[in-house]
Symmetry: C2
Subunit: 378 residues, 2 copies
Amino acid sequence: MEYVETKFVTFCQPPNELVLKSGFKLGPITIAYETYGQLNKDKSNAILVFHALTGDAHAAGFHKDVKKPGWWDDMIGPGKAFDTNKYFIISSNVLGGCKGTTGPSSINPKTEKPYGLSFPMVTIEDMVAAQKLLVEYLGIKKLLCVAGGSMGGLQAIIWAVNYPDLMNSCILVATNTRHTAQQIALHEVARQAIMSDPDWQNGDYYGKSIPVRGLSLSRMIGHITYMSEQSMEEKFGRKLIGKEKLGYDFSHDFEVENYLKYRAGNFVQRFDANSYLYLSKTLDYFDLAADYNGDLTKAFASAKCSFLVISFTSDWLYPSYQSKQMVKALKANDLDVSDIEINSSYGHDAFLVEVEGQSKLISHYLARIEKQNTHGKR
Amino acid sequence: MEYVETKFVTFCQPPNELVLKSGFKLGPITIAYETYGQLNKDKSNAILVFHALTGDAHAAGFHKDVKKPGWWDDMIGPGKAFDTNKYFIISSNVLGGCKGTTGPSSINPKTEKPYGLSFPMVTIEDMVAAQKLLVEYLGIKKLLCVAGGSMGGLQAIIWAVNYPDLMNSCILVATNTRHTAQQIALHEVARQAIMSDPDWQNGDYYGKSIPVRGLSLSRMIGHITYMSEQSMEEKFGRKLIGKEKLGYDFSHDFEVENYLKYRAGNFVQRFDANSYLYLSKTLDYFDLAADYNGDLTKAFASAKCSFLVISFTSDWLYPSYQSKQMVKALKANDLDVSDIEINSSYGHDAFLVEVEGQSKLISHYLARIEKQNTHGKR
């Protein structure tokens, strides 16, 4: 078995820092990334994929001595939707993350201490600007496709809008163009949970106790929003845990309670609380049409590539009506758009678990894009 | 202006304690209650109303020196849905609450200290058993109606099923017959938020610092679930608070963030964290058909009265499909059932704010019940 490894590359050494949307300058910026498959001779088979809120660069394959594959391994690999026999897939950890790319837990070279809350706020535009440096570094002039779900979709949108000449196609899964009041509210509760944990210490907890309780609560809220009412009911219903009847006390009674605890327990071991704060804010700040008085058609006017837009019926975190608004705006710009709402009970998680339906759609779509690309060049 | 006052009555003096569903014996039990309107000569015009999770006995009218009326004042009063010119309305604080009825913040006479976590777990059945003592104490043999929304609806259901001869009718608003995995999960996050607050101190915080942070988080989560995505979007959208542009820091940017903070701030001043723990568990434990293998028709077999069932299209906390299942089971028992799903964007809050539609329905329904009742007696 061939293992994959995360690689690292550093850009923006002072005084050549990256100027963020906020005006703040950030550098150096290290990017953690992985690649799968082989880049072809004319470098025309590269696909850049983006992870969601708590993902990382490890999208596919296995790291040595780790049992679990990358987060999108169902979709990336030989013969899979993103077929590594054909395509060269690039995945990187986002700016502000905590898995190798510069973020609040990174050492600030000026102070030789972790940034903590002195890390600047990053936007989707900033994440994408950093990814562009990586793509240039890899010698790729034009991507065959940019693709992502959830927060990954926001990155794909900004690629398509800010660098319209740098890709042939864009795949958007379970995503949207602006965060609604409900989405902001859910994030705000998660942030308050972290920030009200005494161990958070205004973000200066590195090397001390981490804010386990607050981060756990954030993740529990998250998990409820990733599933649907139906999928929770089907998976757990009112099943009791290891007892015949209700306990009439405050120990756990129901399996769903234990599930939340278990998932939160895993999460706090792998994710940085400050990164959660920053990235949730990044999502809340996202509003593609903000500079266009809310006119989504104008906001997409610069885009040139082909689009595939996928949403899921039971996704209430990124409801499919948001995808439909996006599709309408793309079509109003005379762009090539394929869109589908997949019938699924899995809620927002569907973008990770509805593998079969998505695989067919994506592999056929990519084959078409590849063909058009080859024809276009002749 | 005539003010209303909360009255108090105490039952179950040892050794005559109330035997709870858990088997635990509880006594004495003080019940805080209010009444509105006049009991008629033959005591046939009494209506018992029930409050929701964080409500209290003060359903209507004004307390002296308090600007805000009772929580259902839009519906209870002269000429209103529950017309105090015609009916005698009784409202009491639930067992386990913190507004005058015995609950975890009450003094345990055996220890002369607040119960805290030594308070026994209470069920909807226990709440209703305590209310029955109050109704008997008031000399009422049969209620014209039992009525409630949300957790209040659960109490109305148990009245109708456990004491079928004691009412002519039952009004159920935005309620259900069992809590789903999602509802349990949302409550569990709220409980964990309270219990992970260091000030909670295993429930023994009375006279010390109260768990403000945990209780605030619980309420923030609650408020998101009480509204709908649409009502949050209409009320707040992405409106910024007192600033022209995003702050790029962790202060609040959006009005919805401030709203949650404001509502949570009010809540922690008026509600006891342990009561929140107990009552959320009471809700999670509720499963009407648990003893009937999930057969809702059998679970309602003892009911005799007429039913009015109201639900709201955008309520995702107590979705209307749950009301429809209930209606189906009631009809299968050949009961007189009127049901309506009101078109509303207000989410679960609709049961408190959709006054006009509900008022018409309820006043007509009660007039019919009253008429049948009078005819029946001739």
